[in-house]
């Protein structure tokens, strides 16, 4: 009887600890600066954008997407900040809070030291966030954020 009780208690603890561990597991947010343009011979889409290829083409209409800056951040508490950077652009991401559904973010796009755009957004685990930035040469700067 006592052995069975101990086994049951162990199972219970394992379940509870497993649940707590999974609930507290870190999620990764990928944020990228992407230049989109149309070329005769497009390069393959970067690995980071593979799940979004159809949506990118549908919404922006370009056939080539090139990542010029990126950051991958594992969020544990949900209150963290990080930066994706290229030579001239910086995307500063400040995560205010987060839960299983997603994160509340403040985004700032800088062109060198000039603030071009600021936005507050709820980034859901289920859907990427796409931001159309300024025209750059014959292409377009896009900001992408996705929970991986």
């Amino acid at each position: 009887m006592q052995r069975r009780s101990l086994l049951l208690l162990g199972l219970l603890l394992a379940l509870i600890l497993g649940d707590v561990a999974s609930a507290g597991a870190a999620q990764t947010v990928w944020s990228g600066l992407v230049i989109a343009n149309n070329v005769a011979q497009p390069d393959p889409i970067p690995v980071e954008l593979r799940g979004m290829e159809a949506a990118l083409k549908k919404w922006f209409g370009y056939n080539q997407y090139k990542v010029i800056g990126q950051a991958r951040k594992s969020l544990v508490t949900g209150s963290e900040d990080w930066m994706a950077q290229s030579k001239y652009f910086s995307l500063l991401v400040d995560s205010k809070s987060g839960n299983e559904a997603g994160y509340l973010l403040n985004l700032k796009l800088f062109q060198e030291k000039n603030l071009l755009l600021e936005t507050d957004a709820k980034l859901s685990k289920a859907s990427p966030l796409m931001i159309k930035g300024p025209q750059v040469g014959d292409g377009q700067l896009l900001l992408l954020l996705v929970v991986q």
Binding site: E118, A121, K122, L123, K125, L141
Partner: protein
């Protein structure tokens, strides 16, 4: 220590003797009236004995059988309860076992329900733009639009009119 009523009853029945009798009769406030009352009581007793004799029981055997059955059934119930007491009142160990099992079942159910619920919610939950702003001095013609596409499961912030930049800004 007998009460007055007990001594009174005993006196009427002629059961008081000696000192006790003398003391009781001395305590009576009106002995003549008490003697009268005792005589009446004795007359009534004699009358009742004469006119209300005990009735003989016609079905004596059947009555005794019924009585024995009743006594047997009443004594049998406590005996059964005493032998089966362990089943009615479970020992602590068994109670702990049942409680732990119930708790485990509850936890497992909660575990699976809580795990599946966010998945279904997330599939319908899109990212959302709460606020967006550009510097009107630097980009006076900029306009901001927001789109949410359930079909593509994306949220798009569409900013038009930002100052165009030369192609060298596309470098990594």
């Amino acid at each position: 220590m007998k009460t007055f009523e007990e001594k009174w009853t005993a006196w009427i029945d002629g059961e008081l003797t000696g000192v006790e009798l003398a003391e009781f009769e001395a305590s009576l406030p009106d002995k003549a009236a008490a003697e009268e009352e005792r005589r009446d009581a004795r007359k009534l007793g004699t009358f009742l004995k004469e006119h209300l004799p005990c009735q003989a029981m016609g079905n004596e055997e059947f009555f005794h059988h019924q009585l024995r059955e009743r006594i047997a059934s009443e004594t049998a119930v406590p005996a059964r309860e005493s032998t089966g007491g362990g089943r009615v009142w479970w020992p602590i160990g068994r109670l702990v076992w049942v409680g732990a099992t119930a708790l485990a079942i509850f936890t497992v159910c909660t575990f699976f329900v809580m795990r599946e619920k966010p998945t279904s919610e997330q599939s319908q939950y899109l990212s959302e733009i709460l606020t967006a702003r550009v510097d009107p001095v630097v980009n006076p013609n900029a306009t901001i639009s927001m789109f949410k596409s359930k079909e593509d499961k994306v949220t798009v912030l569409w900013v038009e009119g930002l100052q165009s930049l030369p192609s060298e800004y596309a470098s990594q």
